[in-house]
Assembly symmetry: C2
Homo-oligomer: 161 residues x 2
DNA sequence: GCCGCCTACGTTATAAAATAACATCATGCC
DNA sequence: GGCATGATGTTATTTTATAACGTAGGCGGC
């Protein structure tokens, strides 16, 4: 797992700022409305490099606003962010994570550490190629491939070998 | 998608009988207890080649028994069946499907048709190899890879081209 | 056989994740 | 300003999953 996902050895504020800047740019370019609410939800998704549940985000949002928000508020914002490719949903965790490279082609591949909870996006063409090959052999038309690999990241292997 | 998953052109009763026979054999071999309840849940999972939700199975079970069963009853049976590799859970659907080749090595790969709902297990070594390669490059230790490809099966492409 | 142990099953309650239906508000366009 | 469209608020409900605790049933040791 890249060092950047270890919260102790990188400037995470920079990750967040970066993500927001890119989101602003992408949405402006597309004419999509990154409203204050959506932007705030995006920021909360980026709280860490661990996938976050909708209700965790909801709690943070409620605290920030000083009043309790409704689940739908968050789900709608997340839906927008996923559509725009700014956020991915991790199916096996029912959780959301900020996209490392919005704007680029995505096939949604992740390495998820079961020890620290960090998830790293790996848009690797070889996995995608393998999937496309098998699908083609079987006449299956690929729409949305999901790859979520559970295991242990380098850092966590070192901690408990 | 193989013809065998098209419910109109294969003897599905045979699929079910086969699955139960293999389950009996595997559990006997391992000393695992495939109780009447677990066997019945396995049968209900095999109702079709479509992944089924726990609550759908629960309903069927209640109907068969003539009294309403509790969710936990089904979840516990499913947990056992998944542990034994007789059933797989499709993370992206919150649903369960019978394993086509229990006893063999599994890496949990599926082609899921969004039109007809059928899911086919494809334990393809090339996908697995690609995942292992990338993981090795990043020092990530793979535990449980999940591959769920959404799209359209051959049959459904023909129906609405 | 009988006892004790471990595992499976039953029951009730509750948590967690997601959506439905409908009302209201904001924003951009003319 | 007025209107259309899309975003947000509000309330209720559905779907999925687990917790906590008690009972029963099979299996091995003796």
């Amino acid at each position: 797992m890249p060092a950047a996902t270890n919260p102790t050895n990188h400037d995470h504020a920079h990750c967040i700022a970066d993500a927001l800047t890119r989101a602003d740019a992408l949405c402006a370019e597309r004419g999509a409305r990154l409203t204050a609410l959506r932007r705030q939800v995006l920021e909360l998704v980026w709280t860490s490099h661990r996938p976050r549940g909708a209700y965790a985000i909801l709690e943070d949002l409620s605290q920030r606003e000083g009043k309790s928000a409704a689940p739908l508020t968050v789900y709608r914002a997340l839906e927008f962010l996923v559509e725009q490719g700014l956020v991915h949903r991790l199916e096996s965790l029912n959780a959301y994570i900020g996209c490392a490279a919005p704007g680029a082609v995505h096939s949604g591949q992740f390495l998820v550490c079961e020890a620290c909870g960090n998830a790293v996006e790996i848009d690797d063409p070889r996995i995608r190629a393998a999937i496309d090959t098998i699908a083609a052999e079987r006449g299956f038309q690929v729409d949305r491939p999901t790859v979520e690999v559970r295991g242990r990241c380098t850092d966590c292997q070192e901690k408990t070998p």
